[in-house]
Amino acid sequence: MKNRVKEFRAALGLTQQQLAGLAHVTARTIISIEKGQYSPSLLLAYRIALALGTPMETLYCLEENKQQEDQQYEDL
């Protein structure tokens, strides 16, 4: 899933380890989320959004991801 976690984290000057500490997860999880390899649970997504002070809709590009998934369903 596409997201803008890296962009917002960098804007705040936080390291992956620091963000991981704020969200109570390991730095590896933050790295995977930033790479789009791992989709976080709703609660973790909310924790990260709170830590970065960004609405979830913006942080996780929800509209764009929904449209992408809708397209995949239409292609079936």
Partner: protein, 143 residues
């Protein structure tokens, strides 16, 4: 001193005890083959190091917090689940292959060893399938 991680402390004690026992046994029985003894001592020291580290970490608030985060991390849990699931899937295929091969070998050779392989693999695969169905029903109801 306050204990922050009881489970970690317990494992630390177990590893330290096992490591110390093995080291003592190696020291007491010095008549063995030298390379084998060196290997055994190195293994004992590794066990001792794991045990002491776990023991010390159990008394550190920061280290215990790190351990807890690592244990409860949702991605790590997902990886553990996926690993277990993949392992089981591969083992089931191996057992299925062993069952078929055992049956074919028994039909062609009439050797009882192959028959036993077929029976054992068949029984285990049936048991695994039954447990898998029961677990699926359980989680279907609970999730």
């Amino acid at each position: 001193m306050k204990i922050y991680n009881k489970k970690g402390l317990l494992w630390g004690i177990v590893w330290t005890a096992v490591g110390a026992f093995c080291l003592y046994r190696d020291a007491a029985d010095a008549s063995g083959f030298l390379p084998q003894q060196i290997k055994s001592v190195v293994l004992s020291l590794i066990m001792l190091a794991i045990g002491v580290t776990g023991f010390v970490r159990a008394f550190s608030k920061r280290a215990s917090m790190e351990d807890r985060v690592e244990e409860r991390d949702e991605r790590s849990r997902l990886i553990r689940l996926k690993t277990a699931s993949q392992t089981l899937r591969v083992l089931m295929w191996v057992q299925a292959a062993a069952t078929v091969l055992g049956l074919l070998a028994y039909v062609f050779t009439e050797n009882l060893v192959w028959g036993c392989l077929f029976l054992f693999s068949g029984l285990t695969i049936t048991l695994e399938a039954a447990v898998s169905i029961a677990a699926a029903v359980y989680y279907e109801k609970r999730s």
